[in-house]
């Protein structure tokens, strides 16, 4: 089995009665990869993770881990460990008994046991916490104990179900960095579940964006952001402006489109197929649109009026009404030289401009 297919989820479905929690999902995850499952609440992330751990069995399809079919393998015989969303720290055991829970079969001497647990405590920077009871730990400490407990036997795969969900923003950002560097240090394949797109973008090698039991796109964070394959992904990851467009001519890696109020544009269709005359969507990220109060020379330019502006310190968000477009166009700009646009309730005329390669062409629905 190749390293590219270290975990291979092949056409897997899971139905609970009428609910199709996971619906014909196929994903290959490479050895050592930090892979995220991203999607809104109820889209089947936990269910997919639980099938990898062996707590649920697929209604259809097959899961392979390191070349081995998992359909008949019980959770306690799988080369994977899991960090639960609730952490599931054993309340009747102290920190070192929790971390060393899986070492029973090794029949270690007390000294060996302590040194194995000690190594993990060093790794998670909780040395000296050996005898703490679980209720004496903070949320972040519990999370780290759960991590150490899952890593102590060096599983081939670590599954993490929204492990940072219960932490406050600051601790969360710190743990994101720590988790990522830990993953690099131990070289274990991580499958990470989150519904926080920023978190997925910062941490992952690749992300599967899921919706209603299906996956919409699997790609690197940059690809997902720069070249989403459909409207749902574009909408879910970051903010996106959509404009109705019609395809006029499809040529060699280029498509000419008529984007109504934005005029005629020549854009790259990526790896999507379009035919002449087809209705499509032209999508542009807010930060790829330049805004100015004087008409720029050259490039694609449209005129609009300022609808609302939000000053965020380093950046500003502007909402600009463009004649012929229903929703105000969102524009995000670094506050290098934009203060004049904020003026006292500026309702004035502004110009928006962008370059051709900022435009992503998507299928309508």
């Amino acid at each position: 089995m190749s390293d590219e297919q270290f975990i291979s989820i092949q056409n897997v479905s899971k139905h609970f009665g009428d609910v199709h929690a996971v619906d014909r999902v196929s994903i290959d995850i490479a050895r050592g990869e930090f892979f995220s499952l991203l999607g809104p609440s109820g889209c089947g992330k936990t269910t997919l993770l639980r099938m990898l751990a062996g707590f649920e069995f697929p209604t259809a399809g097959e899961i392979f881990i390191d070349g081995q079919a998992m359909s008949t393998v019980a959770p306690n015989h799988r080369p994977v460990n899991m960090v639960f969303q609730s952490y599931a720290i054993f309340p009747h055991l102290n920190v070192s008994q929790n971390i060393g829970y899986s070492l029973r079969k090794d029949k270690l001497s007390k000294a060996d046991f302590n040194s194995r647990v000690g190594e993990m405590l060093d790794l998670i920077k909780l040395s000296g916490y050996e005898d703490r009871a679980s209720h004496e730990l903070s949320g972040g400490e519990r999370q780290r104990v759960a991590l150490a407990r899952a890593l102590i036997r060096r599983p081939k795969v670590l599954l993490l179900d929204e492990p940072l969900g219960a932490l406050d923003k600051q601790l969360r950002e710190q743990m994101q960095l720590e988790l990522r560097s830990l993953q690099r240090a131990v070289g274990i394949t991580f499958v990470f579940v989150t519904h926080d797109q920023e978190e997925a973008l910062t941490m992952s090698d690749r992300i599967a964006v899921m919706s209603k039991g299906r996956y919409l796109q699997i790609d690197t964070p940059t690809k997902l952001y720069e070249a989403p394959q459909n409207r749902e992904v574009a909408d879910f990851i970051g903010t996106m402006n959509f404009f109705d467009a019609s395809v006029q001519d499809v040529g060699d890696g280029q498509a000419s489109i008529d984007a109504g109020p934005l005029g005629k544009l020549s854009v790259s269709p990526g790896n999507l197929a379009f035919s002449s005359g087809q209705a499509a969507l032209a999508a542009i990220r807010p930060e790829k649109i330049s805004i100015s109060s004087e008409k720029p020379s050259g490039g694609h330019v449209v005129e609009g009026t300022m609808d609302a502006a939000a000053y965020l310190g380093d950046r500003s968000h502007f909402y600009v009404r463009v004649p012929g477009v229903d929703k105000p166009v969102a524009v995000s700009a670094q506050n290098i030289d934009q203060t004049h646009l904020h003026g006292d309730g500026n309702q004035g005329q502004v110009w928006l401009s962008w370059s051709n390669d900022a435009v992503v062409l998507l299928n309508k629905d």
């Binding site: 062996g54 009747h92 829970y101």
Partner: protein, 273 residues
């Protein structure tokens, strides 16, 4: 003075009077037991005569009573252990596994709770007779098992539902099979429930009269013995002495059970995520 009134005030409100009346109603008759058991007279009447330990001496030397007590304790102990084991496993099954026909199964196990003891007694008597089984402490034990198991199951279901089932999954995830997981996680976390269940099943069996009376044959339990003795007025003070002893033991057991229950609640709240 004013603080004093405000602290003790509620005692004299209508609710306070109700509470005192209630406690008096419950406990004064019970207190007659130890009181008359030390009274130097076979007649249960005021005024009290002198203090005596005679009835307790008689208690210690009456053969039938010792046998009956031994039967009762033996049955109650075995029933407590079996009912708790069955109740725990049944609770585990209904709370953790998606078993088909879960609803009917629960109803089936719980039904003995609401069947009147006399009906149950007659039904079991008919069956035991039909099968030609000789009546003894074993048949009593079976009857008691039937009525205690639902109580045990109720206690254990609430205990098992009280803790995160991810804990058991975490144990499996960390390499332990179903039995090891039970011993290393489920059991220790259920200990307060298990102790409560043991005490309750013991008490139910120890107290039970109708089934023991119907199903005992030659074997006699303590309640049946006491009932038999009530025909002899002269033995009444001895029974009172016995009642006083049982009261003392019950008091210790209940205090102990309550202490464990609270400890359990503490573990639960302190481990909540």
């Amino acid at each position: 003075m004013s603080t004093h009134t405000s602290v003790t005030g509620p005692r004299f409100g209508p609710l306070g009077i109700y509470a005192i009346t209630y406690l008096a109603f419950v406990y004064i008759p019970v207190m007659f037991l130890p009181m008359f058991s030390f009274n130097d007279s076979v007649f249960i009447a005021f005024p009290l005569k002198g203090f005596t330990l005679e009835w307790y001496r008689a208690l210690a030397t009456s053969d039938g009573l010792i046998d009956a007590l031994y039967n009762s304790v033996k049955i109650a102990a075995v029933v407590a252990v079996l009912a708790t084991a069955l109740g725990t496993l049944a609770a585990k099954a209904v709370t953790r596994y998606k078993i088909p026909g879960r609803g009917p199964v629960i109803t089936f196990i719980m039904t003995p709770l609401v069947i009147p003891g006399i009906i149950m007694g007659i039904a079991l008597l008919v069956i035991v007779n039909m099968l030609g089984i000789e009546m003894s402490v074993y048949t009593i034990g079976l009857g008691h098992l039937l009525v205690s198991t639902p109580f045990s199951m109720l206690i254990m279901v609430s205990r098992l539902e009280g803790f995160d089932k991810n804990l058991e999954e975490a144990s499996q995830d960390l390499g332990e099979g179903a039995w090891r997981t039970f011993w290393r996680v489920t059991f220790p976390l259920s200990v307060p429930g298990i102790i409560a269940s043991l005490l309750l099943s013991f008490t139910i069996s120890f107290d039970e009269f109708i089934l023991a009376f119907f199903l005992g044959g030659q074997d006699i339990t303590l309640p049946v013995y006491i009932w038999g003795q009530l025909r002899f007025p002269a033995k009444l003070p001895v029974i009172l002495a016995l009642g006083a002893c049982i009261l003392a033991v019950s008091f210790v057991l209940v205090t102990f059970a309550e202490w464990f229950r609270r400890r359990g609640v503490q573990i639960k709240t302190s481990s909540g995520v």
